[in-house]
Symmetry: C2
Subunit: 336 residues, 2 copies
């Protein structure tokens, strides 16, 4: 069978089979946002890694070296945030063509350091290499947490589903960057969506707040798009998820870009990747206080977008009349 | 300036400048075999990462998916060994073309797991992605150690330099694999050198033994070749290193392949990369007991190949008559 027929979730299941089941010391192994390792009883070490490849994850026409560095760090920060942890140390591997200007490499590490600095994350090691073509970067981020990690498998029937910030802005930014002609929109609108795409800001403080807040069940960061990532939560938790499309938070800039490019802003919000917002679930009772508490502590807007129900695992999107809407499935590697 | 004019060591110096100096909690940052992090006082977390790219680090004509997986793990095990640590957990990122057979991906993870299993290392997380062309893998390995890490910067004038095993066998294997015609040699000779190249075995037990043995100063694993890696030790320690070429341990199979291909076996041993043997330094007094003790505890042969002296940092190779011999500089990424 070819890889693109199997899909990413099928591949992860297969890798789990090949490498065996976790052992003592491994609280969470393959398949969540980060591994959770117990080296010292009661204190968890978090570890996550992300590979970023030119012409798969970014195009040099749109993203400069500082953007690539920033985003390679931010996506890992977001994984640690999704566990409710504190990021600490990063290892950075970079490969680029021999003829690359050293100043471009400087910009890459500056972008990395700029994204890391607000969180006190230190770059402590890595690897450098040539590449046959294009830039390739891998960032591994280590963090720590006490308390209970918030897993993809922790959603329960009856939970409400909430997201932070707004959705689809990164996808709008990507669409604007890849449009054949510049969309006829004000500079600040285009800057807002392209910044969301090139310089995402991980919800680290928010993840830490949610990581110790009573009543939070599942948590995940939205890297592959709401449909795909909420699908992971549903699948791993053995529950169904219902989302009301009309409730999805969409920024005015996203709507403007979608309008100019003939795209559906709700489809961008439901399936567009790389927003790096957090999604969490909690029972209906505490959800109100959690949303208010988080907004008050961090300034992050929280929107309840749907609920978890018993039944077949999967995600259903509903329109304003309660009818099921078919959407694409977000950004999935190895899609068939 | 172009990257290939700067050289790998220059690049690492430049990265250190960009990202700032280490902070409390970071015992060893960028530039050694692994980062040494102190999360709990007295207990060190080790972390290392390596990027492995098709047509830079391997060719698919010579290396199957299981070989790629094995080696991606082994090179990281070797980095932890070079610190005197115990490897524990691995994160694995893999990108390959969409059309890749899933069975090939299975073989990759089997190779990884086969290399990890003897050391009790568990694969706890990772990332999967498509690649535009060729296989790309990144393995991050976490380990632990008590005691004092053995650094590249710990060599002192008067130390003897010792290596484990033999040198140049991997380079002979690579030369045999890349030869236009099969060298006219017995199968077992070719199998011996190609196995050294495709399936290196990290000196984990030996590294742990040396990590707690009294009198061991600097330690490094030989990944880029003796000339380059001993050059790192000399540079980081601010000392000179003198190596007697005639003392370099060279296996009969390496000599046979060198003979058949018209190569100099001592040049392979002095500059060939990817042997993943350990090099360490110790004072002349304890060196004899260290070599005998290590050989007795682990079975690894130890050969004293030269000495550390005060003076200009750098590596000098001497022939049997004590004359300086000019050699290539091993395998260096971004070589000018």
């Amino acid at each position: 069978m070819r890889l693109h027929r199997l899909g990413e979730r099928g591949l992860i299941r297969r890798i789990r089979r090949t490498i065996g089941s976790p052992t003592p010391g491994v609280r969470v192994g393959i398949g969540d946002d980060a591994a959770v390792l117990e080296l010292t009883p009661g204190a968890y070490l978090l570890a996550t890694t992300d590979l970023v490849i030119e012409d798969v994850h970014f195009r040099r026409r749109a993203a400069g070296p500082a953007d690539i560095g920033w985003k390679a760090m931010a996506v890992n920060l977001s994984d640690i945030a999704a566990m409710g942890g504190t990021p600490l140390f990063a290892l950075v591997a970079l490969a680029c063509p021999e003829k690359t200007d050293v100043e471009e490499v400087d910009r890459f590490y500056e972008g990395l350091a700029d994204a890391a600095r607000p969180h006190g994350v230190r770059i402590v090691g890595g690897d450098t290499s040539t590449s046959p073509a294009g830039w390739i970067a891998n960032v591994t981020l280590l963090g720590e947490m006490t308390g209970r990690p918030r897993l993809r498998s922790d959603a329960r029937a009856g939970d409400r589903i909430a997201v932070l910030g707004d959705l689809g802005r990164s996808a709008a930014g990507l669409a604007a960057l890849e449009a054949e002609a510049r969309p006829p929109l004000p500079d600040e609108v285009l800057a807002d969506v392209t910044r969301a795409h090139l310089r995402p800001v991980a919800r680290v403080a928010e993840g830490k707040w949610l990581g110790v807040a009573d009543g939070v069940h599942a948590m995940i960061d939205l890297s592959d798009g709401l449909a795909t990532d909420l699908g992971h939560v549903a699948c791993e938790s053995g529950v169904a998820a219902r989302v009301e499309l009309a409730r999805l938070p969409v920024a005015p800039s996203t709507r403007a870009v979608a309008g100019a490019l003939g795209l559906d802003p709700l489809e961008l919000a439901a399936t567009g990747g790389e927003d790096y917002e957090l999604l969490f679930t909690a029972e209906a009772g505490p959800m109100g206080d959690l949303a208010a508490g988080l907004a008050s502590a961090t300034g992050a807007p929280v929107t309840v977008i749907g609920e978890i129900t018993a039944g077949d695992t999967g995600v259903t999107f509903l329109d304003a009349a309660g009818r099921v809407v078919e959407l694409g499935s977000g950004f999935e590697h190895f899609r068939g």
